[in-house]
Symmetry: D2
């Protein structure tokens, strides 16, 4: 019998994607949990989902026998709900930024508000399974990584760890995202006529996903330049990453570093030397695709890393983490 898993924020893009994935999961079934902040919203996206039960509060955990709850909610809602659901005995996977940064100070610096559940920070596991798998198995509170940091860390960390990046020259990460990354909201900025046939940069050198990259990849802030940009499409993140190798290396040699790291990873795919992914390759999948172009003569290197922001960048990775936390096969429901 499948385990019931609650989803709060199921009307948002990430929440709806989680419902979709859980509907086909071999060991789980989705339970939609109404929360006041989205009551009255448009349920159109859910037409095809099985709405088993709806409930207003953590009491649902016992009532519905929930093993786990996914919070696809803004950080302030997650800080409110996570303690309650944990107290009720459920595993919590939080998709917001509430528990990603290690300290309340760092949270306040980047999110511009007080952390209201700081006592949970030490026990929150940063759920990038490729690097934190052991800690995620059996975890009670998993903080699901941000979309941009997922694509960035999977591409940058192995290179930094292998010591092949010329740190003095810095690393540039030019990131582009589909509009669903901004969430399901009525804003003029994301209105169709403002976005279509346009392309725009935002949060240049100042995006709140930057500290997640720094803390996982081991790069220092002064070495890392990050720009987020909006592509007029629904979903997908592509990051073009520039650096220099410390000594001349061709694409195959750089790929060897990735191969050593990701040989057994089910959700990281590498491209042949000289080839890079486009977004089509990863949309609606939980894969992170990585390709390398390098010019050994000048030590310049370009890595392209691509994910679906709603899957590996949100709901898919959340369920990958859920699988680990609950003891299911890591890939269950995701291939």
């Amino acid at each position: 019998m499948p385990s019931p898993v609650g989803i709060v924020g199921f009307r948002g893009y990430s929440g709806a994607e989680a419902v979709r994935i859980l509907s086909k999961h071999p060991h789980c079934e989705p339970v939609l949990l109404e929360h006041r902040s989205d009551a009255g919203g448009d349920a159109k996206l859910l037409r095809k989902s099985t709405i088993l039960r709806a409930s207003a509060a953590p009491e649902a955990v016992a009532e519905a026998g929930l093993k786990a709850v996914l919070l696809a909610t803004p950080p302030e809602v997650s800080m409110d709900l996570a303690p309650k659901y944990l107290a009720a005995g459920a595993v919590v996977v939080d998709l917001s930024g509430a528990f990603r940064l290690g300290t309340a100070e760092n949270y306040k610096k980047w999110y511009k508000e007080e952390h209201t559940a700081a006592d949970l920070l030490p026990s929150a596991v940063y759920g990038l399974p490729e690097y934190n798998r052991a800690a995620t198995v059996g975890a009670k509170l998993v903080s699901n990584p941000g979309c941009y940091p997922t694509a960035a860390n999977l591409a940058i960390r192995p290179l930094v760890a292998a010591g092949i990046v010329d740190r003095a020259a810095g690393i540039v990460c030019d990131a582009k995202s589909g509009v669903s990354g901004a969430g399901r909201k009525a804003t003029l900025k994301n209105a169709f006529c403002e976005v279509t046939e346009n392309f725009s940069a935002y949060s240049i050198l100042n995006h709140r996903h930057v500290p997640e990259v720094l803390q996982t990849s081991g790069v220092a802030e002064e070495e890392f330049s990050f720009t987020a940009q909006l592509i007029p499409i629904d979903r997908g993140i592509l990051e073009t990453i520039y650096f220099r190798t410390v000594h001349p290396m061709d694409a195959s040699e750089i790929l060897a570093v990735y191969q050593a790291q990701y040989e057994n990873e089910p959700f990281v795919r590498l491209y042949e030397a000289g080839n890079v992914p486009d977004l089509r390759a990863v949309q609606r999948t939980n894969f992170c695709d990585i390709g390398v172009i390098a010019d050994p003569k000048t030590r310049r290197c370009v890595v392209v890393s691509a994910i679906d922001n709603l899957v590996k960048g949100a709901a898919g990775q959340a369920i990958q983490n859920l699988n680990l936390a609950l003891g299911f096969a890591e890939t269950a429901g995701l291939l």
Copy 2:
């Protein structure tokens, strides 16, 4: 010296388009009139426009020497402002639905609210120049037609007037519009991710533009089926119109009816028999393009009528009306 022409609602899509056209108009210059309902809005669209003066009220008419004011505002704002600007001596061209229907009763029926400036209705000229040119010359209050009715009436009225439509079989007008037709607003319905890669129908058999088609084309409500649909593009309206001819006619014979009507019209273009316009042909122009396909054997006929909803469907036609009202060449600034 160019005549100053005020624009209220210059941050909306139609208003911004009017500013753009007037900036290149040989006899006018745009004066942006701030109105409380859009104060604080995003002025991004106007970066390239000459903002000559900004003023809050009808007093601007005397201060700025305004000859005319374009109201690119919702009907309730137009009903409030039109009397004030008229009293101040300006010609008013209203782009809303406030003064399009002849009576306050009809307005209430379709717009679901009381008409608050009903005394102006008798003097408002319905500004479809191809049929109301004489009345528009020198008019004080011009009611600019709706976008859908402009494309529909220019296509349907000549056929009905010529008596070639089999009225018993009815007329179907299947209309499709770009998203800018819904105005510049923060709504979930028009958010990029809801619209892109989608297509949807709305206000089927019940759109408030229908009475404008009935009163101008001479078709009865029971004969006319109208559906509005949203294309995931910025601008343009294409209407596919179906009817039967009373006796067998081929496309050339039907085109002859249009040619007789529009021979000297600067903004109506006809296509060779068997050819129809696409939206590319009319975007960013004040043209209404019309093409005809017919099967004389079965008397079935399809007419395709296309305009840019922001130009011939809004700001362009408003300036065409302005030209007539102020005594300029009808095409000034529009070719």
Copy 3:
């Protein structure tokens, strides 16, 4: 052990969709069959599929133990291959128009070329399972319906059969399709810059899918007006259908006709009276969604019918037919 099913034309949009569906099918596995006409093509779309074997000819049937072959090929290729694969003992589901029209004369009239496998026409089953289920069970040659006719026939036939359509007033079917309906080809007409931000009609009153609607729905050609139009999106077909009822009926009464017909159909979904589907509701599913708006006073009725052109309009329905022909559950791999 899953049954091997061959796909010819697996690089096209419909063929690739078939591979995707069969990859998750509980009883089948896809076998990619190279054909000279697509040799050398770009296999990019298939990155994620399991390419089990590739073979050049009908000999593959025995070699690979194929139970069935899907032909996602142009009609001239299907007329060539179908006899060969049938002779080799495989069930054939053909996605082209080659075997849809009952006679070679009709084929020549609409497809403008001679039929080169006319002897197969009598045994070809027109695979619209909602109306031809019994004949499809155990069939050897199934002709998969066209995308436009699938949406049209599912919407129109029950109304005509129930005798509620005022035939004298005619039926209008205004159809809109995503660009993938035109196939995976290098043409200027379908180049990105020609299509984006555009909308265009084609084959007005003259589309070769029309005879499929006539033969299945029971409507006569002179009663039926059909226009195909290109939406600047990847996938989805939405048809807006206009007719008059013979006597006053409201939407609920018309829906009752559909409910009686489709009560037990797994892939037809009906909307509450006054509601209609958009494309988002059906994309990437095998559903046909139908909604009704009606004005009993004037007997006007609008039905909206929506499908995914690559799924219920092509590969999904082909696998629905395959399931019937091979004796699997009709919905296997499709929910």
Copy 4:
């Protein structure tokens, strides 16, 4: 009386844009020159243009009294036609890459073919008016810059010239373009369904526009990393440029360098410190918009440079050059 100016390649996107601009030019009128390589093409885009005359060869120069000819053609056609039109007495503005690189060797290296009009290279003026204005006045052969290099050079050259770039750390130019940059061609790569909802990088570290940036900006190849990427939109180029300043500078100080350089330039617009352009700001204009973000503490700087690839990146700049070569006001027809 307006001067007749010929356009070869008027069916392409750049050529059609040139026709559009010249149609409103105060001193010129477009003359469409048919060339065998585009004979039989689709003239749809030109519906609204005045086609004055069509002619097959350089004889047209005398016949039509042409003062100048714009070559909106591939480099191999330009190498063939430029000498002929020059010999016939016309000023030639070539929009291809044929005459942009100073030597035949360099051309062969980047364009992979022999230069067949190498004797013209010494006299060809590289038409970036902001840096080559004096040489362009009265020039006989102007080589119009590439789209990517125009946006890159206008952003990078002033910084390099002022000596504020930390050359050792290198310069990254992450460039994104609308699809019209690839020209009007039937290719699978640019088919609608391959491009929409996708985003892809190409020619990483290897684009043939790179040498144009090097020769004008003064940057060395080993210092410069360039990636071209395809945005699923029609038109516009946005380049995100990363570098470090040699000593700490804030955005205002960097902007001061640009202001000193571009104070009197009609087609370069600067943004307030901390603000950057999006594509909407420049589409359908001849402007290059530049904005700066900087973090003095770490010396990291990001410059965003945006143009319309068909205007400042092609036809608009070509007419800017034409104005200079023929002695008209530089901005004629372009504001």
